[in-house]
Symmetry: C2
Subunit: 198 residues, 2 copies
Amino acid sequence: MSRRPNTRALILEASVDLFGSRGFAATSLDDIASVVGVAKQTLLYWFPSKDELLDAVLAQTAIELAAVIEAAVRAAPDEPLARIDAVVKAVFRPAVRRPQLLGLVREVSRLSPVHAERLTRSVQPFVRRAIDYLREEMDAGRLRRADPGLVIALAYATVTGIATEPEALRAVEWPVTPTGLRRLREELAAFVLSALRP
Amino acid sequence: MSRRPNTRALILEASVDLFGSRGFAATSLDDIASVVGVAKQTLLYWFPSKDELLDAVLAQTAIELAAVIEAAVRAAPDEPLARIDAVVKAVFRPAVRRPQLLGLVREVSRLSPVHAERLTRSVQPFVRRAIDYLREEMDAGRLRRADPGLVIALAYATVTGIATEPEALRAVEWPVTPTGLRRLREELAAFVLSALRP
DNA sequence: CCTCTTGTCTACCAGATGGTAGACAGTCCA
DNA sequence: TGGACTGTCTACCATCTGGTAGACAAGAGG
């Protein structure tokens, strides 16, 4: 197993980082190749074109994030606010450690509708389950009454936005230190929860 | 006055749209030129380089948005929740009518630190006033106690995020119709206000 | 009428980019 | 041993991109 070269995985990893931070268009195949330490042609051996590389990168990102969220939901107690708290905090970790991951998700709106729709459809069942869950909890009076789909979109926008825009934090002079980030995570969760409490 | 060609303004407008939607790197000077209906060289006559065009575009966007917010604050009653409500709704209008505007702001995190810092510094005094205001209102118990700077960053992230990511709305099957958008505006304001109410 | 300025254009260029063709080295069986 | 396969590389190419040089038309003003 260890002889199996993991070039493919290394390319994917570097691509997530670069696409997620600089953006797809601003990243050349040569950029990625030089980060990985191979020739550009090696990229094109594993992925026939830049577009197909992007597809693979998006698919992998969706899978990774879905796994993080799924695990957080499973681990949290069966109570909506606790679950939401857990999800926000769970997403926060990779978001801070590797902002490129969420940066890539946000990049989607810049890409061709084809790519966008593919990713949208892949999270569709996921979203639908979440909507059903929220609706039930709202009906039961355990969450503020609102459109469940929109609540998801808003919570997503808040978390993704704050995680991918270090500039925004710099503008309000927020300290980007371990302590500062821990407090950020708490305040972020508090912000979202306050908006959802009945 | 009417003989004064407004090519410069047209270029700026098209640039905001294209930079804001596709991104800076993905937009070529030829793209902009063909939208405006002039030759590329005409762009380079008005703006010596693509970089300086970007500077001008960012500066203009900051001015436009600042004006919208300033006006909303002035018009609203002197009560923090009413003011925040007014600002969110005021920003929502241009955000929906021209998502590229906020898309451009978000693009900043992809750009060189030089551009980012320039824009950050230009909104600095603005932000500082807002922080002081929020702190006072929190001290007076009219807003939920939290870090005022962070609250601004979070509210910004929420509004910008939802406005610039039609994909997110599509994923939760939100109807992008006039009625749907009006409801979105109301729910967005409600979301932010719920998070800030004491 | 001449000349200077302004705004736009065509022609062109050097460098970067995505992608093709094919050589080459190592490994895996038969 | 020898051929097929796998993974990586060098060489090359067509196209696009930001930018330069300079021609040209239309006023403006003496």
